[in-house]
Symmetry: C2
Subunit: 325 residues, 2 copies
């Protein structure tokens, strides 16, 4: 059953978060949403596709995980600016034959995450899709004027930090793509199916003026760090032993280093900060690892425990795993 615009609006009206309603004087069911920003704040806007066959597969990803990941992508971008989310907008095109239960569970996943961060889904667009499920999420957030943490502020001598652990998503996808597994479990790969955006850590860094630059690891550590380096006109030396590798299953097997280095969709925060004051080892309950240093030389390098140095290519998530999903 296709989801009509009316149905989408009903979905939103009935179940959307009631968190920041006072910031949303009008919107649901009007031509535009009208949103009041907090005083002396600037608007943050980000938009991210979730396309069947590109960002997810119906046989691999349960509908609530698809909805959750769809919104998480946008929220993670807000986190990477040190911002706070206000409202989301969903453009959703569904094939005519998609079961209503899929749609309901998709919304459940998306709205659960929205509630968790006291934000609302307040609008969007709907259409019937000629092929496959197409979602585009827009998140509007805000940040005090002039306080957004950009990619361009890294300086030589700054330390490089990352939250949480890396490589979980890439390992899950590697198992699926290789055909070694037909399915992988949510329990083994929670960060792949239900990534929690690091909004609290991002806000903490901004409020305390701790980060000189920041990005989220949606494309993978090497690619995302190379974005920071490019925008800041610097390079970086990473410490291989310090990269926090995700652990899988009850055996807590660490993922392969290459997945932690190049695999995307972990939605952790990657940031730089001057060596003083020290960054705490945990921020808002999330582990923070010091993984290297920003260099004047505009290269991305990796140093191993035996002092061997390797120059890294930003291999990019696209060239790595995404192509074939």
């Amino acid at each position: 059953m296709p989801l009509s615009e009316k149905l989408l609006i009903e979905h939103i009206r009935r179940r959307a978060g009631r968190g920041k309603r006072s910031r949303i004087p009008a919107g649901i069911g009007d031509d535009c949403a009208v949103i009041r920003l907090p005083p002396r704040h600037e608007a943050l806007v980000t938009t991210d596709f979730s396309l069947e066959g590109v960002h997810f597969r119906r046989e691999w990803h349960p509908p609530d995980a698809v909805g959750h990941r769809c919104l998480a992508r946008g929220l993670s971008d807000i986190a990477a600016m040190g911002g706070e989310p206000i409202a989301a907008f969903l453009s959703l095109a569904l094939p005519a034959k998609l079961p209503q239960s899929w749609v309901n569970r998709f919304f459940q996943g998306l709205l659960n995450l929205a509630h968790q961060f006291q934000m609302s889904l307040v609008g969007g667009d709907t259409a019937e899709s000629p092929n496959g499920i197409l979602a585009d999420i827009v998140v509007l957030g805000s940040v005090p004027r002039g306080k957004a943490i950009l990619r361009s502020g890294a300086r030589p001598g700054d330390r490089v930090y990352v939250t949480g652990e890396l490589g979980s998503s890439a390992t899950a996808l590697d198992q699926l793509f290789s055909g070694r597994k037909k399915k992988v479990s949510v329990t083994d790969f929670p960060r792949h199916f239900f990534p929690v955006p690091r909004l609290d850590a991002g806000c903490f860094l901004r409020e305390n003026n701790l980060a000189s630059s920041m990005i989220d690891t949606s494309d993978g550590l090497t690619t995302d760090l190379s974005h920071i380096c490019e925008e800041s006109g610097v390079g970086a030396m990473l410490n291989a032993a310090a990269i926090p590798r995700a652990v899988i299953g009850a055996a807590r097997t660490p993922v392969d280093l290459k997945f932690a280095l190049h695999g995307g969709e972990d939605y952790e925060l990657l940031f730089t900060a001057s060596p003083r004051p020290k960054i705490p080892p945990r921020i808002k309950g999330v582990r923070v690892s010091d993984i290297g240093v920003i260099t004047r030389k505009q290269k991305l390098q990796l140093i191993y425990p035996d002092q061997r140095v390797e120059t890294l290519e930003a291999q990019g998530w696209q060239h790595f795993a995404r192509k074939s999903m």
Copy 2:
């Protein structure tokens, strides 16, 4: 050739409007765009799909018209709130084999329209599409606090007005769908291929506190007026003779009344206003027609010159022409 994210960013950096740059402290190539709203303004956000096979066909619509219409849909929503556009975001998924020339002309159409209204394309997302061209446009605008013109303000006794002429798009699509024509010309149907959103007229109405409610005619007069009526808890009586029908070609043949009543995608402004002060017959160079009156009875009715009264069903663009594109 697929359009990589890098290419999109280059496109935007090189060619984006330089109109309101001061409002955009950062953004292109960062996790989010950072946008400063004018003082004491609220944000307006709207999002609209343009999907191949649903909203356009490659054999019917030249690429620059697809780009133009894509942005026009969003701008028209901003106009319908009495708002001013600031920036646009484009999520664009393209099939691997799409010629680069198509992409260039698409951007040309979109950016020409952006320049016309001194606004910038400042971000978005890109992906490779498994099937067909998928675009989702987000427009961020603003309006002085509390001044947005909503759908819910129509009162019994208010007059109903519409800008421009109606039915051009529906007539073009009828000729194409029926197979009577393989192509229709831009000259005959400028409002179908290159609709100019009524931003100036919308601002004028808001600045002068003239409209009690407003919507744009994206879904067709009957459907859009029924949205106003539903949100306002009222009905309307339209005057058949007063509906401004578009004229086609050198012969200036008026379109069929049913296309003017039910056909969508004309992107005119439909608004209500108290009978005093009088609404001028032209606003910012655009014709304005008085087409009926808001009634207490919650019905949509049409009165003919012979006083015959017909109850209208909001037939909806979806059920009318869109289904099969």
